[in-house]
Amino acid sequence: MSINVLVVDDSAVMRAMIIKTLKLAGTPLGEVHQAANGQEGLDVLENHWVDVVFADINMPVMDGEEMIDRIRANPALRDLPIVVVSTEGSKTRIQSFHEKDAEFVHKPFTPEIIRDILEQKLGISHAQQA
């Protein structure tokens, strides 16, 4: 089984890093979609089946928090797994992401952290690594 992912970050380099990390973690990737802000992310979700979203918070046009709120308010998307990937260091703000049923990964991250989040929190299994 492969999973379709959406990576939302205003940094193209960070999007590439997340996708590369998913591959290094052995994630069975299907379609990989990218968006540079929350609005673009919502546009992708309107037109494509996505299994998990990786989202930054500080972005122009629409930030990640508003995007998450809109996803959770949409009956068709409200259960979509979301992983916030951010530099945020405030316990209060990280807790607020958890309250929106989103996982949190702090930058910088490792393939092991991404793999554990997907497996333990989201139930997505990975290929065995050599």
Binding site: S11, A12, N58, S86, G89, S90
Partner: protein, 173 residues
Amino acid sequence: MHNKPEDVLAAVGEEVFEDLAFVLVMPDDGSVEHDDCADSPDWVARIHFQGPFAGTLFLRVSEDLAPMIAENMLGLEDGETPTSEQISDAFKELLNVICGNLLPRLVGDEPVFAVNGLDILQEPSIPDAFEGRPPVATAAFSLEIGRAELALFTEQGCLASMNQLEATTGASS
């Protein structure tokens, strides 16, 4: 344990250079000076933050280091070279991550900060003073290729705020 801001800045800078940009920081032999090659076309960026106190963090990297940072972050293969846009993007993201990791190490994980104004500057070096004040902390790095430096400027009186927040939250331990 109470750590000086410059020690925290150096530690966070080293960690992020190694963990995000995959660039090895060499042991400091005291040879890296802030004014080294002041006329070379280095890359300089700054990011502003606001919260319990406001400030600006500057990052400068030598011209030869900037493409390597982008190559490593993108995982480019041998023979592939990053575009100038990718180099700028990687450089800004590096500073963004350093800033995001620095603030909770200075004042703990209770305060909420907002970051903005992440810009690459056309200036060849980090200014000696920003908004009339000298940096509260600087750190210089010798890396496997090139060199880098960080400088943290904050609003007046912030050191007292930092110490108070640190004492409350146990940061820097």
